[in-house]
Symmetry: D2
Subunit: 330 residues, 4 copies
């Protein structure tokens, strides 16, 4: 499924006004070009999806040409993908990924996994290798943290999701995780996309903080082309001019990926909002818009979290989110 | 209700680490300032709402000062406001405002009003005076259109909402409309805010395309200060770098206004998406996030609409939106 | 002069690769569309300016259609315009507009005008009616301030530039000013553009904080269509995600307006930077990029300025700016 | 040199109005916080640079605390750095980096290097490993291209600058290049910053497409902390809402880095503009704003360039840029 991005040429003696009305009726915006009686209509990317053949049958249309898709493998990916025995995508129960921003100790992750599993959470997340803007910030407990997380997940029958930031980490992570996350800061990092893809694990691809949808789809194409069995998208807010939320959740992008591109797409309300008191609302909105799941930072003692504590939910708050989200998803 | 925007000063010999953990535990982000053992923590605007007194009781905190609110009248506005006999706000049925981008003829608006009223829509909208980027685009049928709309609404027991773009129009519009809309292009136009406010009608205030939340609240303060009985906010998407939707719906702003500022806030998914096939999803997301209603462009024959046809819904599509939204709102 | 925004159709049996290379050689970016051997190349707006006929002569090109200009009167405006007896535009000495953010007293503006005139500044500016985000901020001394400014300017043989924010103010301002400013917050306010245009004075049109170049040109078209004898553009920075400057000066837009659209364009480094220590550098950059002048906030006692004091220059600092700018402009 | 980012506390019985005027007089913007007679003034980041001690001497000021710098090594870097025997920074001749987007053949780069050296260009650039949004776009000739470039540079006594995108490439690049470029897409890639830094070569650090200045400085801190002898910044435009230029050159950031942070900063007008006809103007503006040099894509036959042909200058056009820039720089 690609965006309807076409150029419609009106026949030399045809009634271009008629053609324009027919396009409008189909929900299509266009820019008008002309010279010497010749009219062409370039359909804007923020138009409704429509079939080329349908347009060819409008009286007066001479040709319809389409933009070449830059991501054919993504276009061909099914709307439901598998991570081990768990299906993620349209029509499946919301995939919930929960856990701390950073894995801090074996006890911490084991205890949290127990609580999460009891709520029905299938995916355990936690940072072992942490991307940080400052080199002086805590960078993660590395391989050890991975092992703690694997053990905790095994005990509870959960899947592990964690981030890799280099080719080297991709190898380590793949040994122990079921799905590898590419973070926002690395969405444009094609070397990493290739390295992770070679490990042949499903990829959770976060959107870059100023990436267009087309660039996001092209990043997924890198992963699929180089061997990843599937890509699950994760929207986490883009950078904007307003400081009142940490990032700006692009809910339209979620709807677009889910309903037009028919891709599995999750939402991370924790990074989008950056504030605990909006996570419930944004989670419900995400599912309502078509998201197939959520990624939510959770911590049993946020005051002592090693990173991003202010946005972490307590397990009991997560329980409420899951309950309300379940209602919306029906 | 204003944003938690404070500066916390730690006592000279107190344990600042302890204070920082306590702030984090409460969901607060802060920047750290220091010099000569003196530590101050400036709480970021994208933090959770918290009470000042609560912070003062943390061991080691010396003082907590708050940013002076720039919009006390907005802060004091109740969460539910009235437009005639209809209540809009938290806990009330979703307020639905529907109608064409431009009012095109008396027959058009009468027919559409009939259909909309049958669905339970309480507010009829339609452009009489149109804000257009180009001076050559259709500018609206003016006063005549207002009268057509008033008559159509009266027949169906509906309220009329329409936009005014100048002091002169504000007078004309007030004669015939129940609520006056300030459009995105005019949110920063304080002369218009004052002129409309003087007419003492509820104001529907759309957000400017690059306005911060604080500026939006301050624009509402202009209206309340100069005589408007109430202001209902309407989010319609901000301008961003991505062309795949016409604008970017800031769903976090909706949640923030609804749940933190406790203001009545609507969403206009038509302008946000600019594409018909996302309106259902964005409407559901809006209500899930806390919106008290929706403003949706509707047209019985979008192919012949005089403006914004591609984003207009057919009445039967609107019916489906209302049904699904009703489920989410429960 | 309009942007080269064209669709090039390649002949059915022609070599599209050849055509693509020829377009690239001319500095043109394009998106490729195709279906059934038919190739069309849509030239991106951020392409170099090129003549349509030149493209038609490329071997294999069948047709070239252009986007219809939405601002023919702007396209036809000469590159040099007059404000009274002063010429502003390419090849003329840099037009300098200086003065306080707000006119505070008769003595203040008289004294400042004297100092500025001595430096060779030809335009005196000052706020009489002030656009403010908050209704509680100082809103200007109104008509009285206008008269003080007019008298001060007359004594020094200067022109007066000031802002109007409503139709009513437009009349008052026109009586006493030589050029009427439309501020950033009102660039999209077409009612005001029309009201000001009717007064038949040159218009200084600031760019909206998130306006595209096309919207800015269309706003100017409103003014010219409704009677303004000329429009001078003024770039003052757009809104961005980075707080380190107050706004983000779009120097590319300045170059584009000056060299491609061939319009008279000024730069307001005071609002762009929001910080006194960058005004010299940004002023030099503006002139180097093709600006025909500068608008700089100046105050003899910034600590007591009623608005925007932190960004105001002292007259002696302005003198240094003028000197260095003069070197760059040569 | 860090940003003036402070919190000023006014004494309990002092005159806060006086303090505010004194701050304003010094070019400082602030937000006002208060409670129970206690007033604190938080100085905005877009304020002029000022010394803390100066503020402490204002009558009524009790304490002044400063934000802790997140990049002390950058703050300590000298304003002039060396790449081999060439000095780059304030007061030195503009450093010119020129060459093709992609190195295409040994003959191409040898011929171009000859022409460039004759004009006085000291740095030869060229892509060997290419970052591309699409996996189907040309990815560069790799190590071979590096060797061609090294040989060409040696023959002409030039320095080589090229990009590395992975730890592996960093090793290859360091063998043959004098300075390693980190591209926009990788500015947030801390794993790469560390890998490159370990090679102990000067780093040319492009700004991420939506990176704040603080994040850019923190990325440089990663490089310096992990062993890079020096970092030269390169502004290449940020992502914005306006399609008329490919990116938006942040000239204020250039002025800020050059004059406030006192760092060596270059500008890449080719990527910023994306259009050949603005490169001259933007180059002049860059130098006028304080840039210590330019990076300009150059190609002898842009029509056959393997990437970014439309923005490449012909050598003769570059010659004109150098000449005019030389005048501005004086």
């Amino acid at each position: 499924m690609e965006e309807p991005n076409m150029i419609v040429t009106v026949g030399q003696n045809a009634d271009s006004k008629w053609v324009e009305q027919e396009l409008t009726a189909r929900g299509l915006w266009f820019d008008r070009f002309e010279r010497g009686g010749r009219v062409q209509l370039a359909i804007a990317p923020h138009s409704r999806q429509v079939d080329r053949d349908e347009l060819l049958h409008i009286r007066g249309v001479e040709t319809v040409v389409e933009r070449v898709s830059l991501h054919p493998l993504v276009d061909a990916q099914p709307a439901v993908v598998r991570v081990g025995d768990v299906e993620v995508g349209a029509g499946r129960p919301a995939a919930i990924i929960a856990g701390p921003c950073s894995v801090e100790s074996e006890a911490q992750i084991a205890s949290l996994a127990r609580v999460l599993a009891r709520m029905g959470v299938r995916f355990l997340r936690g940072g072992a290798f942490k991307p940080r803007s400052s080199p002086y910030a805590f960078q993660g407990h590395g391989r050890e943290a991975l092992m703690w997380m694997r053990r905790a997940a095994n005990e509870q029958g959960m899947k592990v999701v964690t981030e890799a930031m280099s080719a080297e980490e991709a190898v380590l992570v793949t040994e122990l995780a079921d799905m590898v996350q590419i973070g926002s800061r690395n969405m444009h990092n094609s070397a990493l996309l290739k390295a992770v893809a070679k490990q042949r694990r499903p990829v959770l691809l976060k959107r870059g903080m100023a990436a267009t949808i087309e660039e996001w789809l092209s990043a997924a194409e890198y992963a699929l082309l180089h061997g990843a069995p599937s890509v699950i998208f994760c929207e986490r807010g883009i950078r904007s001019f307003d400081p009142s939320t940490r990032n700006m959740l692009d809910i339209g992008a979620v709807a677009l990926l889910a309903h037009v591109h028919r891709q599995p797409v999750l939402v991370d309300p924790s990074h989008a909002a950056g504030r605990r008191d909006l996570i419930l609302s944004l989670s419900k909105a995400a599912i309502a818009a078509g998201a197939s799941g959520l990624m939510i930072e959770t911590h049993e003692d946020p005051g002592h979290a090693m990173s991003d504590g202010p946005q972490a939910l307590l397990p009991e708050d997560l329980a409420r989110v899951l309950e309300e989200v379940d209602h919306v998803g029906r």
